[in-house]
């Protein structure tokens, strides 16, 4: 598989604060990758570096280019929505379409207008007159009409109500996604994107703590609900995380032999959200 994004020892410091600490990343074409981490973990910094919006140390190649120096050509093949609230207040919907159509060689105007025709949004409206949900739809219409190889979304639904969020992801799945595209999405709303993703990257304190496809997650990780009387035996098998639910202890294992764990209790594959909490509080990476 062709590598779309490759980062080696990607580091970004703001003064004494290290936002990215020798992060290594490999993202293949055709995947839908969730970059997931708590606030301040370095998600946005990583995306800014990938999109050529900030300087960095280390090696980074995106679509065969060096992002910071070749942002202009990179943006012909990549597009991004960095938060939905960034369309300028003074811009009119029809102006936005005219402008992107004029400057972007891969923009397909009919796709954008077709998408907007399904909404209540009129062309002469200025962004300041639109609700946040409507602005999202305009931004999506503009971005999804671009035939890009890489689509990056940074906290795309931040500040949206549940209805607007659902519209957003439905449009993404139904109107956009196909096997030729790669989507990189950051969020801390893990549940929202769980069903969408093919790959997971967890980031914490500037370091990558997990980089795995979802299929691998299912074989690599297992959670066992252990009754109190077998807890010591379970703990002896070296779980990397433990939590209490409904009077039982749930132990999380990585690369463990499922047959040996079976006697302790019921096995299940942890959800992305569970795994996220386990990985980040467990510490052991």
């Amino acid at each position: 598989m062709a590598l779309l994004i490759e980062a080696r020892d990607l580091t970004k410091k703001y003064g004494a604060h290290v936002a990215l600490d020798r992060a290594n990343l490999k993202i293949e074409a055709g995947r839908i990758v969730g970059l997931i981490g708590p606030n301040g973990a370095g998600k946005t910094t990583a995306l800014r570096a990938i999109l050529g919006l900030t300087s960095y140390e280390g090696q980074l190649t995106v679509l065969g280019r060096e992002p910071l120096r070749q942002r202009t050509s990179l943006m012909q093949d990549a597009c991004f929505i960095a938060d939905v609230a960034v369309l300028p207040a003074w811009l009119r919907v029809d102006q936005a379409i005219d402008f992107v159509a004029a400057v972007h060689p891969r923009f397909r105007r009919d796709r954008a207008t077709g998408f907007l025709a399904k909404t209540q949004i009129l062309g002469h409206r200025r962004m300041r007159e639109l609700s946040k949900g409507m602005k999202t739809q305009v931004h999506l219409a503009l971005t999804m009409a671009i035939d890009a190889k890489l689509f990056v979304l940074d906290e795309p639904t931040l500040g949206l109500d549940i209805l607007a969020r659902r519209t957003f992801y439905d449009a993404l799945v139904n109107d956009y996604m196909d096997e030729t595209r790669t989507i990189l999405i950051t969020t801390h709303q893990v549940e929202e994107v769980e069903n969408l993703l093919t790959d997971l990257i967890f980031i914490d304190k500037g370091r990558i703590v997990l980089d795995s496809s979802l299929e691998d997650v299912a074989t690599r990780f297992v959670a066992v609900a252990v009754a109190a009387d077998r807890l010591d035996a379970g703990r002896a098998a070296k779980p990397f995380y433990e939590r209490q639910i409904l009077g039982k202890s749930e132990l999380y294992f990585e690369n463990a032999d499922r047959e040996k764990l079976a006697p302790f209790g019921e096995l299940r594959t942890p959800s992305v959200a569970d795994l996220f909490v386990a990985k980040l509080s467990g510490g052991a990476a």
Partner: protein, 287 residues
């Protein structure tokens, strides 16, 4: 080229004051011409008539140019700051447009587009005002306000002014854009604070005034460099009588302008500041 045209168009969308401000200012002057007190002096000598007609137009040109220069200063300070403040830079940077093109388009708007708009607005307003005044005073067409040769000569002066001012004020524009690309807040303060601090330090510790002189000469020195201000052919005041040169070509001084080292040193500093602004624009996305 196409992209650059759209970038300039974009500036008109965002900064409607580029045309609204001269429209409103022109409308005010028209209202004054319609309802204010108007009077034309009784002039007999050809020289007096010529001078009055030219002074009438220069007054309009100067008024619009002054108002629009103040606006252009504000525009330059805001142009690389506003979209960082409201984060819309993240939208603009998602498009395949280089930071160089973006910065240059804004520079062209400030140094070429806004001055051209101001002189066009000045011409239109002067034409309307001359028409209104002529009717109100029942003055004949062909009087002092209607001298086609003077009108044409003024267009030469406007074009010359736009061109020389764009080069002369390059370092000023470069500095304002650098502040605009750099500052996290208070762009106005940052625009004059560093030069002011330099000036004060120099005065206190060295007792000299190089910084102050360089800055004030840059801000006010364009007429002295670009225009003929000496010699019998140029303008002069004799008692109560102002005499303007008989031809604009005696007034402008392109050879002197382009021979001046001040012009070229300033342009070089300007280019360096603009390159720095582009570099900052590449690296700074948000505040």
């Amino acid at each position: 080229m196409n992209t650059n045209m759209w970038l300039i168009r974009r500036e008109f969308w965002e900064n409607r004051a580029i045309w609204l401000l001269p429209a409103v200012f022109g409308a005010m002057l028209i209202v004054a011409a319609l309802f204010g007190h108007v009077q034309l002096p009784a002039l007999t000598s050809p020289n007096e008539i010529h001078t009055f007609g030219a002074a009438f137009l220069v007054a309009f040109g100067l008024m619009f140019y002054t108002v629009m220069s103040v606006y252009a200063t504000w525009y330059l300070l805001d142009c690389l700051y506003a979209d960082r403040k409201d984060r819309s830079i993240l939208f603009w940077k998602s498009l395949p447009i280089s930071d160089t093109d973006t910065v240059i388009s804004k520079l062209i708007v400030a140094l070429i587009v806004i001055p051209v708009v101001s002189f066009v607005a000045a011409d239109i307003t002067a034409l309307l005002a001359a028409f209104i005044v002529s009717i109100r005073l029942r003055a004949s067409i062909g009087s002092t306000l209607w001298q086609p040769d003077v009108w044409l000569q003024m267009q030469v002066l406007w074009i010359y002014t736009v061109f020389t001012a764009a080069i002369w004020y390059l370092p000023v524009a470069g500095w304002l854009m650098l502040v605009s690309a750099w500052a996290k807040r208070a762009v106005i303060l940052w625009s004059f604070l560093p030069p002011l601090v330099l000036y004060i330090i120099e005065r206190w510790f060295l007792g000299t005034n190089v910084v102050g002189r360089v800055i004030s000469r840059r801000l006010t020195g364009l007429p002295a460099v670009a225009l003929n201000t000496s010699g019998g052919k140029s303008w002069h005041v004799d008692g109560d009588t102002l005499t303007l040169p008989s031809s604009v070509f005696h007034f402008i001084n392109p050879s002197g302008f382009f021979a001046s080292p001040q012009v070229w040193i300033g342009a070089a500093v300007g280019v360096a500041l603009i390159i720095a602004a582009i570099q900052l624009r590449m690296r700074r996305s948000e505040i």
